[in-house]
């Protein structure tokens, strides 16, 4: 058999999984447009989407539910892409933005913003300020972790260990901040911190879409270099990849994608961690891959959101709580299978 044909078969398998999982995710998303307290059927949703429904149905479907579902699909993809980049760069299945302190840092940023807003004007801090605070907190934490881990270049294990240390420290700080806040503020901050899509509107979804449209071509153009570096810095460089610039751009774009999601929805655990690994195992690719990861991320978050909306209906769970539960089970499974056959 021709060698090129063997490689092609692998790429085709990855493509089939990517397209298939994306279609399933979109189908679940469309169906979940009908789920909710308004009691709308598939026909109502179809009418609303094609502009033939009455004003209130249109508002519920197009203004309330659709941006949330689209956000779940795009946000899941963005988190998974961020996770894929981090796992590739750290060469470790645990190297995801939530493990290495990014989400905790974003939460710290959001908490500080609402604390400061309360101190100055007595209000609870606008959603925009919370987003900006989360963005700044997350990016700053990422930078701090990178700097502490930097010693003549960065290695994966050092990023993870430093990240865990920094996130433990920030976690303690967050707990302390919550105890000194006024009660209603602490409640609102804690609900943001759980990660929820309840408040998502088009104003959140559009920036995420724009971010993905910018980020994806950059990442895909560096994907080959990313794969070469997975074999070690020396090997990657000997194959003609500029290790430090490629890694720097990958991490920056990866963190920006996770930051965009976190700023709007709060920290959503597990998707970045699990999607790349699930995609890798399903499509049997050597190492984690960007596009299959994105498809699995979209599927995970859209399912997570559906569970969050239905399991204790009419009340809603924060999706972050759902993904955290799934994540716990996933980690146990990963650790159990890791030891057994020598491969994670």
């Amino acid at each position: 058999m021709r060698i090129g044909a063997l490689s092609l078969r692998l790429e085709v398998r990855a493509l089939i999984w990517t397209v298939g999982v994306t279609l399933v995710a979109i189908a679940i998303g469309l169906w979940s447009l009908t789920v909710g307290s308004a009691g709308l059927g598939a026909a109502d949703v179809f009418d609303a989407l094609s502009g033939r429904a009455d004003a209130s149905t249109t508002r519920i479907v197009v203004e309330w539910r659709l941006p949330r579902i689209v956000f779940a699909l795009l946000g899941g993809a963005a988190l998974a892409i961020g996770g894929c980049v981090f796992q590739s760069v750290t060469r470790n299945p645990l190297g995801s933005p939530d493990i290495i302190g990014f989400s905790t840092g974003a939460y710290t940023g959001a908490l500080l913003v609402s604390l400061l807003a309360a101190g100055s004007a007595g209000n609870t801090g606008s959603a925009l300020n919370t987003s900006l605070g989360a963005l700044a907190g997350g990016l700053l934490t990422g930078a701090v972790v990178y700097l502490f881990a930097y010693r003549r270049g960065v290695t994966g294990m050092r990023i993870i260990v430093v990240g865990i240390g920094v996130s433990l420290f920030l976690g303690a700080f967050n707990t302390w901040v919550l105890t000194v806040m006024r009660r209603e503020q602490a409640l609102s901050a804690a609900s943001w911190g759980a990660g929820s899509l309840n408040e998502i509107a088009w104003t959140h979804t559009i920036p995420l879409l724009v971010g993905l449209v910018i980020a994806l071509p950059i990442l895909l153009s560096l994907q080959e270099g990313m794969r070469m570096l997975e074999m070690g810095d020396d090997t990657g460089r000997a194959l003609g990849v500029g290790a430090e610039p490629v890694r720097g751009i990958l991490l920056l774009v990866g963190i920006a994608l996770v930051a965009l999601v976190t700023a709007s929805a709060g920290p959503i655990a597990f998707v970045a961690l699990a999607a790349p690994q699930l995609a890798m195992r399903a499509a049997r690719t050597p190492g984690v891959r960007l596009l299959p990861s994105a498809a699995f991320g979209a599927l995970l978050l859209v399912i997570g959101d559906l569970i969050a909306r239905t399991v204790i209906a009419p009340a809603q769970l924060p999706v972050g709580v759902v993904t955290l539960c799934l994540g716990g089970a996933y980690l146990v499974w990963l650790l159990a299978t890791h030891g057994r056959n020598g491969r994670p």
């Binding site: 490689s7 070690g232 090997t235 460089r237 000997a238 190492g287 994670p344």
Partner: protein, 273 residues
């Protein structure tokens, strides 16, 4: 043996050279003002005690470490100015350790050696196909090509990495301790492969620990100590009891190798005498 390696180094413009190369890590200088010429078409072997700068030198030859001063030149030009991919088409490297991505097959890994030859517009070609097939063939991996790399033995895995470097099709190939962790049979396989590559016209540079293997297989031997070259030349000319004492601090006899007639080292064993 009649190859360029038998000529005195430096008489023709050999491709890879260092000029007053000083390099190291951070503030620690490991290689001092080193003048080295890698004779074209040679199998050059670098020997020396642990920490003498062998690997550091090898890594600077392929720009994994930047010089603190001086330079490494390829065809007369400083390699610092060569584009990364272009350099990877001229000089290949087998590092001391590499990580096989989880679940990758032998053929996929070897195919990655073609990366420097591919670009945005230039995709997989008949020539890439031939290069990978030839590399698999040279390293006796054809039958294993569909296997997952994690499941291979240490010796097989080392052959996979060598095959990847071969698929890169570089005229110059550097190998950092290619025989470490291999049993004697696999060590001989690797060194025989190096010799046959050299005889086909490639230039090879390897760091080896076993002086007897170095003396046997090298066409050009470089002995280093404390970041400096103590002696260089054909093994028969430079391997003496005096050199071994200078470089490694060991007393040894040098006798004719019964297999090749070249120099063979028999270290003194004071504790057993």
């Amino acid at each position: 043996m009649t190859s360029a390696a038998d000529e005195p180094p430096g008489t023709v413009a050999d491709r890879l050279q260092t000029q007053a190369l000083t390099t190291g890590y951070g503030d620690r200088t490991v290689v001092h003002e080193l003048e080295l010429v890698i004779p074209d078409g040679s199998f050059t072997v670098i020997i020396g005690p642990n920490g003498c700068g062998k690997s550091t030198l090898l890594r600077s030859l392929v720009r994994l470490i930047k010089p603190l001063s001086g330079s490494v030149t390829l065809d007369g030009g400083d390699i610092a100015t060569v584009r990364t991919k272009e350099l990877a088409r001229q000089i290949g490297l087998l590092p001391q350790s590499s990580i096989a991505p989880e679940g990758i097959t032998v053929v996929d890994l070897v195919t990655r050696g073609r990366h420097p030859h591919q670009g945005m517009l230039r995709r997989w070609s008949r020539h890439d196909e031939d290069a990978v097939r030839a590399a698999l063939d040279r390293t006796q991996l054809v039958d294993l090509s569909g296997r997952v790399v994690d499941e291979l033995s240490g010796g097989q895995r080392q052959r996979v990495w060598i095959a990847m470097a071969l698929a890169q099709e570089t005229p110059l190939l550097l190998l950092d301790e290619p025989t470490t962790y291999l049993d004697i049979a696999h060590q001989i396989d690797v060194l025989d492969l190096c010799t046959s590559l050299q005889r086909e016209g490639r230039t090879l540079v390897a760091v080896l620990h076993d002086i007897n293997q170095a003396a046997r297989y090298a066409t050009h031997l470089v002995a280093m100590k404390d970041g400096r070259v103590v002696a260089s030349g054909p093994p028969a000319d430079i391997v003496t009891a005096e050199l071994l004492h200078d470089v490694f601090g060991v007393k040894a006899r040098v006798i004719p190798d019964p297999e090749t007639g070249g120099p063979m080292i028999v270290p003194h064993a004071p504790a057993l005498a």
